[in-house]
Point group: C2
């Protein structure tokens, strides 16, 4: 999915949002904002938004000398997610359809996205998660279930810190499969890294926990490690969480199911759904 004009205010808003997180003086903030605007004025629209976001965030990290501006936010999200996971776990297990309930929470977790929700408060994040079991999923659940059963090897592409805790529900349903769970290679926005995945207990539920060797907030295959690409190419089924993975893989012909909340109008329009929908989406 390519960059649209509508992505531009969002890139600028994202920049402002990071600048509010880092400990930089006014002149550094101004300098970074000017550099980002200059970079955006010569933007290449023929790339998925996460490729551009990757460049912008690299510039910001370099210019303010902070390797992970979202570290504090990620920590808070992990705490919130672990607390709510413990509260919601019995409800999911005792639901009439635990598979569906687990999927609902995996998608609700995708609300913890500070790349799209620039000013997401603790209260809003908590409310999004608490609404998870009351939100209908749009998509062909039966087809998804069948594809999981048929697959021998599954690649699960994680998304954000916090969010990944709720992927445990789905991973538990796939424990008889050969599952690889992949996170980003290094810090980018609030995306989950290996340490977050371990803190979320993902490593205990899958055969293989890896990072993809790149730090786009999505999956830009040609930039990922050869190990990751080998697993990607070999997987019978790929489950990709979040908008960033959708934006970068929407044209990929692999057997991918996208699990996400449609949080921005550009993505919602590209998928053909309403803003805010909880989606299980497969390229048609």
């Amino acid at each position: 999915m390519d960059i649209h004009l509508e992505c531009l205010p969002c890139f600028v808003k994202q920049t402002l949002s990071v600048l509010n997180m880092v400990n930089a003086d006014d002149s550094t903030r101004e300098h970074i904002m000017r550099d980002v605007l200059a970079e955006l004025s010569i933007i290449n629209f023929n790339q998925p938004p996460p490729e551009q976001a990757q460049k912008i965030h690299a510039m910001i990290r370099d210019l303010c000398g902070n390797a992970d501006p979202y570290a504090v936010q990620k920590h808070a999200d992990m705490e919130l997610a672990l607390e709510l996971y413990a509260l919601v776990e019995p409800e999911v297990n005792n639901a009439p359809n635990p598979f569906y309930a687990g999927l609902q929470m995996a998608i609700a977790g995708n609300s913890l996205d500070h790349g799209v929700y620039h000013d997401l408060s603790y209260a809003d994040a908590r409310a999004f998660l608490e609404q998870g079991l009351h939100t209908e999923i749009k998509g062909d659940l039966e087809q998804f279930r069948t594809r999981i059963e048929r697959a021998e090897t599954i690649l699960f592409l994680g998304d954000n810190a916090g969010e990944i805790v709720f992927d445990r529900f789905l991973l538990r349903q796939m424990q008889h499969k050969e599952v690889t769970y992949a996170v980003r290679g290094s810090a980018i926005i609030n995306d989950a890294l290996l340490s977050d995945a371990r803190e979320a207990g993902i490593d205990k539920l899958v055969n293989n926990l890896i990072n993809n060797g790149d730090n786009a907030p999505g999956t830009v295959l040609h930039r990922c490690s050869s190990e990751f690409r080998r697993i990607f190419d070999a997987a019978d089924l790929i489950i990709a969480k979040g908008q960033g993975n959708y934006e970068t893989l929407s044209e990929n012909p692999a057997n991918i199911f996208f699990l996400l909340k449609a949080k921005c109008p550009v993505v919602a329009r590209h998928i053909g759904c309403d803003l805010g929908n909880a989606l299980l989406h497969r390229r048609s």
Copy 2:
């Protein structure tokens, strides 16, 4: 009031919003967006936001060959305002305090601001206006009333099309004074022009209806006509509507009462009020 970093995403969003109104092809839109971003990358922060907005909108109008991109929107807002004015007029006249009720509606009218509310729908605009008589005004009403009584000459700085219809309530209270009502000199965002003021019936309520000779979405005195500046300097009291007039005149030592809804966090913080407040504000 100077430009803040937070104004930058807003300028870009405003650009996108105008581009959605004009009949331009994708390549023209892209070209305009790039030019605006390049202009913003070398922005001078030591100016009020309306001075920068004036430059951006001039670029957009030139590049897309449209002298008034908001014309349709302004027409719709005038229709809505005239319809609602007729409905609310008896309520204001019969209110226990018609002066206060009229002021409430004058400030509610300030919601019709497409420079701040980029995606303001008809339903939202209508709801804002309908809430007018239920919204408390923050400010020293008695001081304002006394100053009006004491003044012989009053300059009223109008703001947006639609909004100006609701200024009639206040103007009716000042018919025994020498009142000049000023609008912008030519098209800028959805700000009111002479034709809108006449359609709103302003000319029948004041001694002098003029334009200020400039088209910043505010009052940049050094760019206004000498006639306007003469009246500005001579006025015993100036009533300035809206954020744009506040942003450009907030440091001016004249006897100015600002009537506005605080619609953006930067302005709210500068004034020291909450976002959304209906304000009668005087420089302290």
